[in-house]
Structure formats: C-alpha cells, structure tokens
Amino acid sequence: MFSGVFAVTFAEGMDDAAKDQFVADARTAAAAVSDVFLADKVLEPPMPGGDFVCEVGFADQAAYDAAKGGAAWGDLKALMTDPSKVANCEFLAYGEGDLLLQEKENSTCHRILFFSIREGADPAMIEKMEAHMNDMADHVPGLRNCKFARVVESEGTDEWAYAYECDFDEPMSFLGKYMTTPFHFLYVDKFFEPACAEWVANVNLCTPYMAQEKPFLANFA
C-alpha cells in the first residue's frame, strides 16, 4: 500500500462545529480520491503533527501518482491547506517499507510517527534504526501491525524522512505497554536522543494517533 498523509493543525478560531464540518468535508473529499482512507481528529490534541489526520491509501505508487493528477486530489489538498480553516499542514507520502501484518480485522487505534533525519547523522546508525524499528512488535503484544517506510514526498515545516505506522488493538496498548516496555525507552528511543551515539532523528517528530474500526495497514493485503 502507498499512503498520502495530511497532518493538519486547525486555524485559530475554529470551534467544535467548524472542526466537525472540516472532518465531514475531508471524508467526502478523501472518498472521492480512494475507497481506502482515514480522516478524523486525533485522540489527543494538540500534539506535534496537529489536530487532525487524513490518510489516503493506494494499491501502489503508480495508483497514487495517477490520483495526484486528478481533480479530486486537488480538491482534497485544497481543503487540507485552506488558510481559513488550517494553520499548518504537514504532508508525507510513502510506500511499502517493512510491513509486519498480524491482524486484518480488529484494531481501534491507528498511529503515524513521522520524523526527519538530523544533519550529520551516522549512516550506520540510520541503517541500524531501519533494521530494528519493527522489532517493537516483539515487545508489545497489542501492536498488531506496523510499517516502517521511507518518505518519498514531503511538504511542510521539515523534510520528513521516515514514517512508522502502527495499528494497535486498542489505544491502551499504545499509551501503556508501548510506552513502558524497556525496549522502547532503553533501546529504540536512543535513535531519538541527542546524548546517545545512536542519535539520528530530529526532535520535532510528529506522532498523531486516532480511532479506527479496522486495521488500516491491512488494506490491500
């Protein structure tokens, strides 16, 4: 699956009714692009990465490229960047990457971590990070599906480099075991900590998470 993700921060002054309307309009616009999409407010605003996420899924990059040339994609992008409703929009598009798929039916929490690579990062450490990010699933039973992919298109406040996308069985698996397993803070987080030799990721990472009814990563599987 190839994904295009918009992470939106609402404009100041958007009340709840306006935000709900934005969500409804986004779903209509996304549905015109692809049958496979998620569009909703995040579960914990404000977070780095904004208040709202729209992810649109495609069978492959060729399908994404074809959609990008269409009017429906233009309408979706126009909504995601409408200055009367949106203060900021981060966009990233990424493909297959390393996919771990264990669950095709049950998942109520979807999360996308995206980040850029710091200047001067050690290529060997980048390679090590690529090799081990999906190992999180070995230590968090509720992390049912995950995909670690290089970003191929990026727009916004930084040159986004990687996306780590997760389907959890429920939000508490993300907020609980995912955060407390030693493998996270004592091993994987070293790639994100400036004091560590493994440090490769800039600290302005974004990590929105949202509700879903089925595992998004199971689409096209």
Partner: protein, 205 residues
C-alpha cells in the same frame, strides 16, 4: 476495502478509560501520551505494573502506613528514598544512566568544565538526579584522551523516563549542546542500565 470512519466506535474499557455507553471521543482518557511527559500528572498510577497492565512488579518502595501525603509528593519522596536507600542498603530499583564523553587529547579538562558548567545545571533543572562525575584516568592528560563519565539515576521508565527526556529533548539549548559537543569530542554516548533483578520488574509487561 473501504474503511468506514463515519461512525465513531463505541468502546468500553475496564478502569474507566471510556465510560460505558460513551464513545472514545466523549470520554476524557485518564491516561494520555502527554501524561508520560509530565511527571506525576497521572495521579494514582503507583506502579509500573499497574500502568503497563501487568499483575506484578513495582518500581517504588511502599509508602509508610498512615502517610497522608499527596501522591505526587509521595512519588518524589520515594524517588529520594530510592536513591538514599541505594547508598544505604544496596537496593537498586533504579535505572542507571551514564553519559560518556571521550575527549580529544589534552582537552579533557575543557570538556569536563563545559559539561559541568553548561549541561549539568540544565539537566538538573529538568529534574534529573545527578550521582557523580568521574574522569579516567584520574589525571589530566596532555597527549591522550580523558574519558568523562557523568552518572544519573532514574526511578522508572514508565513516567520518569519520558518526563526526563521531554524536559530536556525539547529544550533547544540541550539539543544544540549535544550536537556541538560531537565536534569537540572523540565520541559521546549515553548508556542506560539496570540490575538483573530490576530487569525482572521492568520487563514484566
């Protein structure tokens, strides 16, 4: 396959995360990702085991009976007691953190002073618990590298770890110092460790 996202799922969790009959969005979660970055924000989470949803293990000594202190004060006091207890009894339910700086030949003292003057106060101000700073070998070298190790302790990885890291990592001065020191030193690294017995607790998730 179309993913229907128009209807918010109605979920219930034990423990009141989502009240029965309410949707996930209507209930304010008692535990959020932000609570990991504010030490003591999640009142009532008294053990790593409870937070992680497991049945055993604790990172804290039990509070004395009859203690009516505020839970956040209890957590702070337990952290102090833990470190004091470490010295007195050899108990070791803490995570050890060592920042290891290898200086360029002849530059050990300058690197040591830079850290102690600029980084140590920043980290202590962010809540880090300083233990000691050592220099190896115990003589400043003109023609070879000194290895400077700064030791800290952290009471747990459930809340303290994320509170410690958030209080530093999002400070531009902290990031700038660690980025620049790489040009001044042969190498820098931070190592986290724990006793084997505490590993049993940490990994009981």
């Amino acid at each position: 396959m179309k993913v229907e996202a128009f209807q918010q799922p109605s979920l219930s969790f034990e423990g009141g995360f989502v009240k029965k009959g309410e949707t996930m969005r209507q209930s304010a979660p008692c535990l959020t990702r932000r609570s990991f970055v504010a030490a003591g924000a999640c009142v009532g989470v008294a053990s790593l085991g409870l937070l992680a949803g497991c049945t055993g293990g604790t990172t804290e000594a039990s509070a004395p009976e009859g203690n009516t202190e505020d839970p956040t004060e209890q957590e702070a006091n337990v952290a102090t007691e833990t470190n004091e207890g470490l010295a007195a009894t050899g108990g070791d339910e803490v995570v050890y953190i060592v920042d290891r700086l290898t200086a360029k030949p002849g530059e050990g003292k300058a690197l040591y002073d830079d850290f102690m003057t600029n980084m140590k106060p920043l980290m202590e101000g962010a809540g880090w618990t300083f233990v000691r700073a050592t220099v190896a070998p115990a003589i400043w070298l003109d023609k070879d590298s000194s290895i400077i190790e700064i030791e800290w302790t952290m009471p747990d990885i459930a809340q303290a770890a994320w509170a410690y890291s958030s209080a530093t990592r999002y400070n531009p001065e902290y990031v700038k110092w660690w980025a620049e020191v790489r040009g001044k030193a042969v190498s820098v690294d931070r190592v986290y460790s724990a006793s084997e017995s505490y590993m049993e607790v940490l990994n009981n998730v």
